[in-house]
């Protein structure tokens, strides 16, 4: 198990390094002159020179790349042109709201997606099964920002039961409901599909039949034999869905004026505050990568086969 964790941690390094390098190229090589972006179009030449020197722009590219990487390793994501403070502080301030929204969405998606998927599998071929399948396809095809706007129209404008947006005072769940539900649409659809098909597959496995033959009660078969095995593909999908969830959060937070990193990225796009955009993206990408690492480890806990070095993936005919 330890060597498995070690291997997975090591595999993280090239990914994070790759993301960082790409962002460095995007921020410091492509856009021409960051100093002019920061100082504005009408800045005097002296101001530009001072800024360039302070930002290290007069150094060779490789040296700047080294500085960028070592800054990043210490959690320094650069300096916001507009807010005049470190990007890391902006992110630190905004992260709790994004985390809250993302967790709420995953919980909603797991509860509704998995139970719909299991219901559909138990009643395969029924009208309910078709209903779940069509709804889940609709879910994975939904533009989440649009769904958010539609929920606002129905629940805030027509029914007037939930707030249009914002975060509210203190910890107010009423403000969380609409953003979390709209953001969860795509994940709910995926979870329903994957739990239905893996439930169906496991239900027909030999060991489930053997358990039935031994006369073990149905609820015990489901909880002890089916759920645990059917959970394995689901765990992977939770990880891959996180990318869509974090991306979707940028749009959802924008629609609902939710004070998270996504909204910060959007506001920064509007005023071309590149360090905040790129720093926010690096941070979200980092969250995605580490969450997937955690999921891989969880995966290995559920399914001991995965810890073996040569193991190629679950499923398939044994």
């Amino acid at each position: 198990m330890l060597s498995f964790i070690g291997r997975r941690l090591l595999s993280l390094v090239p990914v994070v390094w790759g993301i960082a390098t790409l962002v460095f190229i995007l921020m410091y090589v492509v856009p021409g002159d960051p100093a002019r972006l920061m100082a504005g179009q009408n800045a005097a030449q002296e101001t530009l020179d001072i800024l360039r020197h302070r930002m290290g722009l007069d150094r060779p590219l490789l040296e700047r790349y080294g500085m960028f990487l070592s800054n990043l390793a210490r959690g320094d994501l650069g300096y916001s042109y507009r807010q005049r403070r470190p990007v890391s502080r902006v992110i630190f301030e905004r992260f709790p709201a994004t985390l809250e929204l993302a967790l709420a969405s995953i919980v909603i998606a797991l509860i509704f997606g998995v139970s719909a998927g299991i219901l559909a599998a138990r009643m395969q071929g029924s009208a309910l099964d078709y209903g779940v399948m069509i709804l889940s396809l609709l879910g994975i095809s939904t533009p989440v920002f649009w769904l958010g706007l539609m929920l606002i129209v129905v629940f805030s404008v027509w029914l007037g039961v939930l707030p249009v947006g914002g975060y509210g005072e203190g910890w107010n769940l009423r403000y969380l409901i609409l953003p979390a539900v709209s953001l969860s649409a795509i994940s709910t659809g995926y979870f329903a599909r994957i739990s239905r098909s893996s439930f169906l597959e496991v239900m027909r496995a030999d060991y489930v039949m053997a358990a039935r033959a031994r006369g073990i009660p149905e609820h015990r078969i489901i909880s002890r034999h089916i759920l645990r095995n059917a959970a394995i593909p689901l765990v992977t999908v939770v990880g891959t869905n996180l990318a869509g969830l974090l991306g979707g959060a940028v749009a959802t937070e924008t629609v609902f004026a939710w004070p998270g990193i996504g909204r910060a990225i959007y506001d920064a796009i509007l005023v071309r505050d590149l360090p905040v955009v790129e720093g926010g993206v690096i941070f979200l990408a980092f969250i995605f990568v580490t969450a997937n690492l955690a999921i891989d480890l969880l995966y290995a806990l559920i399914d001991p086969r995965i810890r073996l070095p040569g193991y190629q993936g679950a499923g398939g005919e044994q």
Partner: protein, 276 residues
């Protein structure tokens, strides 16, 4: 058997939705009742009516016409991006799978790194640096970031197929590696590939709409569905139709390509059909 009927339903509805989009996009000039750019300040924000079935927007432009023309952008971005990703992914995957050895090792390590990136966020990071984002840049960016899963898929297929007897036979009569890969192996991966590409179109259309909604895609007055929703959201509470119709268009289009991809997969893989 209930199974087969359902899958043909997926395939059929998917085909119909994709065909409707294709026909209305290609014949946009013919089908759109108005010029999508024509401003009419005497008819601003009109609700849906007989003359304007989807209503008008804040400049009095006909929303139906803009939705029809917007389909062109979505379809073009979806297909072109998938073609770029498909070409890169197929070339890399076929090469890695056929060559094997250290080449395969290096290429697949690289592919795994790219796969670990959250693609949409990567596209956002790239689009944000352009002073003037355009539709062309979107499909280039989406194509260049989206090839990794296709490379993985093609590699696995190529590795399985290259051991078949007919490939050995072709090699023994002196067909070179290029001939074998192009003539004998790749045609047999087309089935799997078509599923991935169709689902890729759906994903790209959704990402394009998302980027345009964030202001990182088609710029006004270009009638991109995502940008139309951005313009409409300021009048959401009183004039919801400005947002409703472009969003429905995105939903139905993406649904269509997802159904089509699912349908093709089930049609190609009878084993899966029997089991699920």
């Amino acid at each position: 058997m209930r199974g087969p009927r359902k899958y043909s339903f997926n395939l059929c509805l998917g085909l119909v939705l994709a065909a409707v989009l294709a026909v209305s996009s290609l014949g946009a000039r013919f089908f759109a009742p108005y010029d999508p750019y024509a401003v009419d300040i005497t008819r601003v924000m009109e609700p849906p009516s007989v003359t304007h079935p989807f209503g008008t927007d804040y400049l009095g432009r006909d929303i139906l016409s803009r939705v029809i023309f917007g389909g062109r952008i979505s379809l073009a971005v979806g297909i072109l991006a998938v073609l770029i990703a498909g070409l890169i992914g197929t070339a890399l995957g076929a090469f890695a799978g056929y060559a094997g050895g250290w080449m395969d090792e290096i290429l697949m390590r690289f592919t795994d790194i790219v796969l670990a990136f959250p693609t949409a966020l990567l596209a956002l990071a790239v689009m944000a640096i352009f002073e003037n984002p355009t539709v062309t840049k979107i499909f280039l960016v989406l194509g260049l970031v989206g090839w990794a899963n296709i490379a993985r898929l093609v590699r696995a297929e190529v590795m399985a197929i290259k051991e078949r007897d007919y490939v050995t036979a072709a090699r023994s009569i002196g067909v070179g590696p290029f001939g074998i890969v192009l003539r004998h192996i790749l045609p047999n991966t087309l089935g799997t590939l078509s599923v991935a590409l169709t689902l890729g179109v759906a994903g790209n259309i959704l990402t394009e709409a998302w980027l345009s909604f964030l202001g990182l895609g088609a710029q006004p007055p270009v009638p991109s569905w995502g940008a139309m929703i951005t313009e409409g959201q300021f009048f959401l509470t009183t004039r919801p139709w400005v947002c409703i119709f472009p969003g429905l268009a995105i939903l139905l289009t993406v649904l269509g390509f997802n159904m089509l991809g699912d349908g093709i997969r089930d049609a190609l893989d009878p084993r899966l059909k029997r089991r699920i």
